[in-house]
Symmetry: C2
Subunit: 232 residues, 2 copies
DNA sequence: CGTTCCTTTGAACATAGTCAATAAACGTGG
DNA sequence: CCACGTTTATTGACTATGTTCAAAGGAACG
């Protein structure tokens, strides 16, 4: 039943990301395309927690960058996750009081997947499980970053993770990746102030490790970054 | 089929925790007891990552405290999760290179659950899903703590979370809970040094908020703790 | 009873935060 | 295409929170 040899390179990033995690057959792709036929959008910088609750199944990011953040009573916030094309936003039932919210960073296109199309045994189901697993690993990794890495290592390690995720969706060119984030957003993700992010980015560039500028990041020396961080 | 009215109070903590998350019927309890009939143990302070791989299904902590930690190349470590009685240790396939390990804090008793006994639709399945969901929420919350709370708030918020988890297993007496952790372990969980944990614990006591001593913690003023932290 | 691990405390230091001011980039409407 | 207002980036000086190093006192355990 598997029509293999789907031309990965021609898929849009969101589908390509999923296809990179599990073999998707024609049925899976048809289901994805059907879901993507009823796309919803969220404007840049807008909270769209509310619109998500209308979705019955898993929510798939088709395009754009989104985040989950927690607001503190003094106005500061901590971003716990970024959602890129191909990512799934899990529903988080009940615990709505805990003041987590989903926001769009850039303009975002998303859709709800039909639970039936991701029934156990399908490639799509495998892919969604893999995404979920990766997300949990990413949460743990972020805990390690925030708990034990200083600003330089934290930023380097985090940018490398983003590169890997974007690359698996085919969104990177050479060692360059899109990074449509202000330094303030980066700070909110990494538990730093935007001022300190700015200084740390300068340091990364000065060291010839990573260059961030104009909505893009260039990994100048991945090996040296990894050696510096000392994780793995 | 549901034999309701199971006397919660008489269940051992691990079962009680699960029963608090989903209604368990006699079949569920029988399955749990069967699994617990083949208990495995890990000595205090020992790594038991290896023994877990022999388990075919979900691993349930029956007794004792365990942790998942990540070791850095310079010897420091970050604890990402604590596992208490009633918690499930998820398997983490493949990604074994990432140097996460499971260790016993106290002596630990655990068992592997039969996947069949937790088939979809059973109460046990619901309970396991609920545990998994709570764990993911705990990971996010910890990210917020590490990213945005100072040592005092971090410690207070974390101890309150531990209290809630222990209480749902029936392990607390009044406002007192067991806390078999050295200040070094607390530091590794919270991204602090043991020295600073010590000073911060003094501050918590001085403020009349929480008292930690001799393997126990007493929540002196939960409301004031929550107000101070400013999360939720 | 001695050894080891854990806690407690002090002093000096380091990393990151705060406040503030300026410059650059961006978006919008003329 | 330019002028203007707003957001974002950059830099400096100062402060604060947490770390490091070191030493000493307690508690636990064989």
């Amino acid at each position: 039943m598997k029509t293999s040899a789907i031309p990965l390179d021609q898929l849009p990033p969101a589908f390509r990301r999923l296809a990179s995690l599990a073999p998707l057959d024609a049925t899976d792709l048809k289901a994805l395309e059907a879901a993507a036929h009823a796309p919803r959008t969220a404007a840049a910088k807008r909270d769209f927690t509310g619109s998500l609750s209308s979705a019955s199944g898993p929510v798939l990011i088709l395009d754009g960058w989104a985040l989950r953040a927690c607001l503190l009573s003094d106005g500061r916030r901590q971003i716990t996750e970024l959602f890129l094309p191909g990512d799934i936003i899990s529903s988080e039932p009940t615990d709505q009081r805990s003041s987590y919210s989903i926001g769009a960073i850039t303009a975002v296109t998303w859709c709800a997947l039909d639970p039936a199309s991701a029934a156990p045994g399908t490639g799509l189901n495998q892919a969604l499980c893999a995404v979920e697993l990766l997300k949990e690993q990413a949460l743990r990794r972020h805990i390690v970053r925030l708990g034990r890495l200083d600003a330089l290592d934290r930023l380097a390690d985090w940018l490398l993770e983003l590169y890997a995720r974007l690359d698996s969706a085919g969104s990177c060119v050479g060692n360059t990746m899109p990074l449509p984030l202000t330094q303030e957003v980066i700070g909110d993700a990494l538990g730093l102030t935007s001022v300190h992010v700015n200084r740390t980015l300068s340091a990364l560039r000065r060291e010839g490790l990573i260059e961030v500028q104009g909505g893009r990041a260039i990994i100048l020396n991945a090996d040296r970054c990894r050696a510096m961080v000392g994780l793995n």
